[in-house]
Symmetry: C2
């Protein structure tokens, strides 16, 4: 007695929020190129990563998709975009400090994928 909370209810709520959170993550990171882009940028923190360079170096990535994925990532504060006043303007993309937080997660995905491939093959 005393508390009116019913554990069942509280768990239900928490569970739903967890599902929403998981869905969020997959939505934000789950595109075909997003995690690849973040990993790419995280390996080139010191370089000038402009649009064309990225597209050239990630094989199969079209301008359309690159523009879209970068826009999405920027909206989620994972990537920063800065225009540089060169003769034809260039744009530099960088992963944000906050964006670096996804690296452990992507490592886990890599690890799971590797383990799973081994598991399936036997």
């Amino acid at each position: 007695m005393g508390t009116i909370d019913i554990d069942g209810n509280r768990q239900e709520a928490t569970c739903k929020q967890e599902l929403i959170a998981m869905r969020d993550s997959l939505e934000i990171l789950g595109g075909k190129w997003k995690l690849m882009l973040l990993r790419y940028l995280s390996n080139r923190l010191e370089e000038k990563n402009n649009f064309k360079k990225i597209q050239r170096e990630i094989e199969g990535l079209s301008a359309k998709m690159l523009a879209k994925e970068l826009k999405d990532l920027e909206l989620n504060l994972l990537v920063s975009r800065s225009v540089v006043n060169t003769k034809p303007v260039t744009v530099e993309y960088r992963i944000t400090p906050y964006g670096l937080n996804v690296l452990p997660l992507s490592e886990n995905l890599v690890q799971w994928g590797l383990d799973h491939r081994a598991q399936i093959k036997r």
Copy 2:
């Protein structure tokens, strides 16, 4: 001198495999319902989880999708399927011991999603 391996090459290969592994993971776990199903089953290890019960308890999940997702998960050894000789046959689905390995990963996704939601709102 002595070794012919070029670090650049070896890193390239590793990097590509990592990307493939990541893609694998997203493909296998990334469907709309897969992680939800695995979490659902992991919370009901002691129950008889038959098709209809699962569909009833996961809101919005159609028979078609449930069948498909379960089949995929079974192919990847994450879920087991066993037919029971009841009057009209029933089928019990369980998460495999191996399937339990995805739970940490899904926890990470949940955590990242929660953190991110907090991050974006401020």
